[in-house]
């Protein structure tokens, strides 16, 4: 029983990352019906950018330095948001009238460009890079499990960011415009909404969230690699579908469920079954509820 509770705790932590990255997937899908396969690579690029900035500003290889990590995190969020916006401008916007399949192929291409771009950049490259700042091992006990303060902070920060997005989309005028564009792009134009700007902002927010997740991954796990975006992208995409792609709350819920299912799967069946259990859950979910947990009318055009 205590193993089960511990694995739920581990799963929530894991799910915080999935949810944050899944939000970006879900928002872009919601507004463009595009599965942005390059999203995981925005996250990867963000990890490398924060590696370089932290390497330049952090004092020695020490633990903590919370304030430095905080402002670097904010800077990286802006940079990654900008990168996502630029990707939209250069790749997706010129293709707006193209078939959705062409856009998806373009997304895969963009993903390759980003991965190989990092690969050939001096100081980055193909090796595992050790992050200049890591989180201290001190923390607290809950049940028989030991959690670090960093884990708690990461879950809280993820929760706050997700809440922020939730309010932005649900309660502000900008959010209303986003929902309008998602509902009917042509009608939105006729109502005087600057559709291109709204789409650009959605990309910015998705990228910024991926950037935050990347900085937290770097300081917590301590190592980054140019292929790290692929796995995270796949898991976040699964989380987004599980929760109902296009739905803000669904992305976070899907992330948490995916994290918990994976952890419990490891605890009961062993680590080699974690992914089988997670994707098994996804298949079951799609069987009984093709739109995902909180999804509404989707699954067209797929």
């Amino acid at each position: 029983m205590s193993l089960l509770l511990n694995e739920i705790g581990n799963g929530i932590f894991l799910g915080a990352f999935f949810g944050l990255v899944a939000l970006g997937y879900s928002m872009v899908y919601g507004i463009l019906r595009l599965i942005n396969f390059a999203h995981g690579d925005f996250y990867m690029v963000a990890a490398f950018v924060s590696y370089t900035i932290l390497g330049a500003v952090a004092v020695g290889n020490s633990h903590g330095q919370w304030l430095t990590v905080l402002w670097v995190g904010v800077v990286v969020m802006v940079i990654t948001g900008g990168l996502a916006m630029l990707a939209n401008q250069l790749v997706y916007r010129p293709m707006r009238r193209a078939a959705i399949l062409s856009l998806m192929i373009a997304a895969i291409g963009l993903s390759q460009v980003l991965e190989n771009g990092v690969l050939v950049t001096p100081q980055w490259g193909a090796t595992y890079l050790v992050f200049p700042v890591t989180t201290p091992p001190s923390g607290f006990n809950l049940g028989s499990n030991h959690y670090t303060w960093a884990q708690l902070i990461i879950v809280l920060v993820s929760g706050l960011l997700a809440l922020g997005v939730y309010f932005l989309v649900g309660r502000t005028l900008l959010g209303k415009a986003m929902r309008a564009v998602s509902e009917d792009r042509i009608a939105a134009v006729l109502m005087g909404i600057n559709v291109d700007l709204v789409i650009a902002i959605v990309f910015f927010i998705g990228g910024a969230l991926a950037g935050a997740a990347a900085v937290m991954t770097g300081v917590y796990y301590g190592q980054i690699n140019y292929l790290m975006g692929f796995t995270v992208g796949l898991e976040a995409f699964t989380a987004a579908v599980l929760g109902g792609i296009g739905n803000i709350g669904g992305a976070v819920l899907g992330g948490l469920i995916l994290g918990i299912v994976q952890s419990i799967g490891t605890g009961i069946f062993g680590a080699e079954w974690a992914i089988v259990v997670a994707f098994g859950a996804l298949v079951l979910m799609l069987w009984f509820r093709p739109t995902g947990l909180l999804g509404e009318r989707v699954a067209r055009r797929m």
Partner: protein
């Protein structure tokens, strides 16, 4: 700003490829053309040059390059200058097969490469059909020499020794409950199973219902750590590679399983012996153990012999970085090939294979000779302990 950056990246990638080609070509043809004008001796080198294992791959390739340059400076192989043809196997079975086919189609006369066993196993039949010698500097899964291929030679002693050494250590420490986990790679699985057998034979138990596996892409071990805690294991054995080992150790330390507040001992196999393990795990690396062939541990940080010192200095001078734990194996792999060819006075592949079979020489990694299956003879294992961020010989060494 980022737009120009993209262009810059494309440009750098082009330049990088160009410089790499000149380095390789220049290395092989430059000094030797001064010696004699015979056709080059083409040696294919499949190594991980991208991906998680790229660092180790590069460190081995660099050492092979050094060895080839040395040989070429002294007249080449029977007058033929060595030319290394590098191919990226990305530590991936599919990529490795393509790389091997490409090298064979370029008519290489020998293959000297292989770090990841998973990328080496599927290549064995291709190289065997080509009938050319296949000298592996660092791949050492026990499965590699069970295929009955006559052309395979392992410079790094078979990994089954890792499992036996780890079992002996757990026995010495009085540890009965051991949690074993691999990374689902060919190398990791083979070593984990070997260790499980030896531990059971010594009266210990492999907890959690047997050997566990985690995908090589996973960086979160929290679920596994909860499993370890509930199983009551006091010994943990990791048979995968160094990048995951560093994350595993860090998280075990943070969870108070190992380290100052923990009671368990963490042991890793030789795939995790790397400077990146220590820098990645930081404080958490201290007090952890590793098993590795005695010959291999002589390099890098511990037990430096005079020859190793010279090698390290030369490597540092040429590549502006420190050699890796398997660099000397790469050097010895080329040396073995060259000595075998000189011994039989021929660079014909079949003759060189025969030459390797009867070869005896003292390399940077100690005495080199092979048994009938191509395994390195006389392998002795060392147990290393990380103390203050350095690999040291653990005292006392466990008795096998």
């Amino acid at each position: 700003m980022i737009k120009t950056n993209f262009k810059a990246r494309v440009l750098t990638s082009g330049l990088l490829v160009a410089t790499m080609l000149t380095v390789v070509a220049g290395a092989a043809s430059g000094p030797a053309s001064a010696a004699k004008k015979l056709s080059p001796y083409l040696v294919g080198v499949p190594m991980p040059m991208t991906g998680a294992e790229a660092q180790a791959g590069t460190q081995i390739f660099n050492a092979e390059l050094m060895a080839a340059q040395q040989v070429n400076k002294h007249g080449g192989v029977l007058g033929h200058p060595i030319k290394l043809l590098e191919q990226d196997d990305a530590c991936d079975a599919g990529t490795a097969v393509n790389a091997a086919n490409k090298l064979v189609s370029e008519n290489v006369q020998a293959i000297v490469g292989g770090y990841c066993s998973g990328a080496t196993l599927p290549v064995e039949p291709i190289i065997a059909r080509a009938g050319i010698p296949y000298v592996m500097p660092a791949a050492n899964s026990p499965e590699l020499t069970t295929g009955g291929y006559k052309n395979v030679f392992l410079i790094d002693p078979s990994g089954s020794g890792d499992g036996a050494e780890a079992a002996a250590f757990f026995k010495q420490q009085g540890i009965k409950k051991v949690f074993i986990i691999d990374d689902q790679s060919s190398f990791g699985v083979a070593i984990a199973n070997a260790a499980a057998q030896d531990i059971t034979k010594d009266g210990g138990t492999v907890v959690a219902g047997g050997v566990q596996s985690i995908p090589a892409t996973s960086n979160d071990f929290s679920a596994v750590i909860s499993q370890i805690k509930s199983s009551g294991a006091t010994g943990i054995y990791w048979s995968g590679y160094f990048s995951q080992a560093a994350q595993f150790a860090t998280q075990l330390n943070a969870a108070n399983v190992i380290g100052p507040n923990g009671t368990a001992k963490f042991v890793v196999a030789d795939g995790s012996v790397d400077a990146t393990y220590i820098s990645g795990a930081g404080q958490a690396a201290n007090g952890t153990y590793a098993t590795i062939a005695a010959l291999a541990s002589g390099v890098g940080n511990v037990l430096n012999s005079r020859a190793d010192h010279l090698f390290n200095a030369a490597y540092h001078k040429q590549f502006k970085s420190a050699p890796g734990p398997y660099s000397t194996f790469g050097y010895d792999a080329i040396t073995a090939l060259v000595l075998a060819a000189r011994h039989v006075h021929s660079i014909k592949p079949a003759r060189v294979i025969a030459g390797l079979r009867t070869l005896h020489f003292n390399g940077l990694t100690g005495k080199v000779s092979f048994d009938k299956t191509g395994n390195r003879l006389g392998a002795v294992m060392d147990l290393l302990e990380v103390v203050n961020g350095q690999y040291t010989l653990a005292k006392p060494q466990p008795k096998l």
